[in-house]
């Protein structure tokens, strides 16, 4: 007699799943997750600079960062600068991105591709190039920017923008905007294109045209994309380091006026001039950055994204 049913299935172990997942999971865990955990761990320890003895200090490093005058000044300054850096991006980069995308999508312009390609190009350049290009452009030695301002009658406005405390950070933020405006432009352009032609035609028939059409229909429909761009900008900005480092050096001059969390982390970790590096305080700052980004992302996911209705298109 044959057994009628074999209810207990003996399926061989599917090794191929492990083989497919293994390499990625391994590299990712060892090179990314464990070091991130290590960062967190280090922030609870201190090393004596003379005896090299490692001691567990609990939250003492955080206590230092928030309340010791030696740390709290640079930290809050870098945090504030970072915040400004982000605000400038939100106020300048993203609206310009929307404007360009809207112009590109609204008209049937010849040369559209050319504009798009050209405006996106700076995004691909390394910070080293971007930093130095603008450093040279703005240098009083070369006089390119002074000459250009003069040609439009604003010669007297010229100053060494990167060399003055009150203008250096804003200038850097604008340079960063110059570099990255292509990303919001491209994403919003794509979102605008994905709005079905029928919806636009219906709007035309209903007499909603031009600017009203843009603000009342298109902008509402692409709000989720704008949300994603905002969070991308946030993560990018609070992780920024390279542009400041290449134009102003690790000291984020003049007089730390362009210091961001990234440069502070670098200096703390590696030391600066006379002062030795402190990996544990570096780890503490990195952990703070981690939490700031996490909180930002969480706020976005739980409070903002939920209110942005995603319309089926």
């Amino acid at each position: 007699m044959m057994p009628e049913t074999s209810n207990v299935r003996k399926r061989p172990f599917r090794w191929h799943i492990l083989v497919f997942l293994g390499p990625a999971a391994f590299v990712y865990t060892v090179i990314m997750i464990l070091p991130l955990a290590e960062t967190l761990r280090l922030s609870f320890f201190q090393v004596d600079s003379v005896t090299r003895v490692v001691t567990f200090v609990g939250l003492e490093n955080y206590n230092q960062l928030f309340f010791n005058v030696y740390w709290v000044g640079p930290f809050t300054k870098a945090l504030w600068n970072n915040f400004l850096f982000f605000v400038i991006h939100m106020l300048v980069q993203n609206p310009i991105g929307v404007l360009i995308a809207a112009l590109l999508s609204m008209f049937h312009l010849p040369g559209k591709k050319l504009y798009r390609t050209a405006i996106f190009m700076p995004t691909l350049l390394s910070f080293v190039i971007v930093g130095f290009v603008w450093k040279l452009m703005l240098s009083p030695l070369w006089g390119v920017s002074k000459g250009m301002l003069s040609s439009v009658g604003l010669g007297s406005w010229f100053m060494p923008f990167l060399g003055r405390e009150e203008s250096a950070l804003i200038t850097l933020a604008l340079i960063s905007v110059w570099q990255f405006v292509g990303i919001p432009m491209m994403l919003i352009y794509a979102a605008l294109l994905s709005i079905p032609e029928e919806v636009i035609e219906a709007a035309e028939c209903d007499g909603v045209t031009g600017l009203a059409q843009f603000f009342k229909i298109k902008l509402i429909l692409i709000l989720p994309t704008i949300g994603i761009i905002s969070i991308l900008t946030f993560v990018g900005n609070f992780n920024a380091f390279d542009l400041v480092y290449t134009t102003q050096g690790p000291l984020a001059g003049p007089n730390f006026s362009t210091d961001l969390l990234g440069t502070l982390l670098y200096r703390t970790f590696y030391g600066q001039q006379t002062q030795p590096g402190d990996p544990n305080m570096g780890a503490t700052i990195a952990t703070m950055m981690f939490f700031i980004i996490l909180v930002g992302v969480a706020i976005y996911l739980f409070f903002i994204q939920r209110r942005l209705t995603r319309y089926e298109m």
């Binding site: 990625a24 990712y28 990314m32 312009l109 480092y245």
Partner: protein, 281 residues
């Protein structure tokens, strides 16, 4: 997209052209300025920065300095090998993991996917201290492998995320046909699925490549030795050393820009298509 006559408005179009042209000039002018001045003599650079080089002002002294003083061919080779190797591993491992996640039902499938996606939002830089320790402990500091491993880990989360979406739409029937015909799971992946997601691989490749090529942080920390310097780091150091040699600086920057522009022209279709496809979702 058909644009009706009623919707065309000459004046508005002209305005759009003017605005877009302005942004285009702003985007391109600095780069063009660097490139044209790198071919001019020092005096010409300062006398009239915006003029094109002519017979009188043409001068390659900057390039001769770069090639005699700097080690640019080596830096270029380092950048290229690190980028290509990282790209290879990101695409291979990423595609394999994406296939496992999208194809098979197994316990903790979703959780694994979430775990691997964490890295999209968290910058790997925050783990630098641990990475440096690890690389020192394993003796990989100042070898290209330190960079390749880090860039692979950095690129994996996004590539897995994007590739899973593409793998999920590969015809189920095709994979079933392969299984009925006796192909192994590996053959199904490499022979059937991978060729079909080639466009997605190209898109992910371009996105992965740009930050790797341009990165300054990890070469500075993990591989600053002369033998392992990447082009980005090399240019940075070179420019720092030759602060007042404008010809050399401009030539070095032009050399650093050209490969990127070249790649962009080569891949811009893929890149734009990728951005456009990603945003539609």
């Amino acid at each position: 997209m058909a644009v009706s006559r009623a919707r065309r408005n000459r004046v508005a179009e002209l305005g759009a052209h003017v605005i877009l042209l302005t942004f285009t000039v702003i985007a391109l002018f600095p780069v063009i300025l660097i490139v044209i001045n790198s071919f001019k003599s020092k005096r010409a650079i300062f006398r009239d920065p915006v003029a094109l080089p002519n017979a009188e002002t043409f001068d390659l002294v900057g390039y001769t300095t770069v090639f005699t003083q700097g080690n640019f061919p080596l830096y270029f080779w380092n950048s290229l090998s690190v980028t290509v190797a990282s790209l290879f591993f990101v695409l291979l491992f990423g595609a394999m993991a994406a296939f496992a996640l999208s194809e098979y039902k197994f316990p903790f499938n979703r959780l694994t996917g979430l775990y691997l996606a964490l890295g999209i939002m968290i910058p790997i830089r925050l783990g630098t201290i641990g990475i440096l320790k690890l690389m020192v402990a394993t003796g990989l500091v100042n070898t290209p492998w330190a960079l390749i491993l880090v860039y692979t880990a950095q690129g994996l989360p996004l590539s897995i995320f994007i590739l899973s979406e593409f793998m999920a739409v590969v015809s189920k029937d095709l994979k079933a046909a392969g299984r009925i015909d006796g192909l192994s799971e590996y053959a199904i992946f490499f022979q059937l699925v991978l060729p079909l997601v080639r466009p997605a691989l190209a898109t992910v490749g371009v996105f992965t490549m740009i930050p790797i090529w341009n990165d300054l942080w990890f070469p500075l920390i993990l591989a600053p030795s002369e033998a392992t310097k990447t082009l980005t780091l090399g240019a940075q150091v070179f420019v720092g050393q030759f602060t007042n040699n404008w010809n050399a600086i401009l030539a070095a920057m032009t050399l650093a820009i050209i490969p990127v522009i070249f790649l962009y022209v080569l891949f811009s279709r893929q890149l734009i298509r990728g951005l456009t496809a990603g945003a539609v979702k």
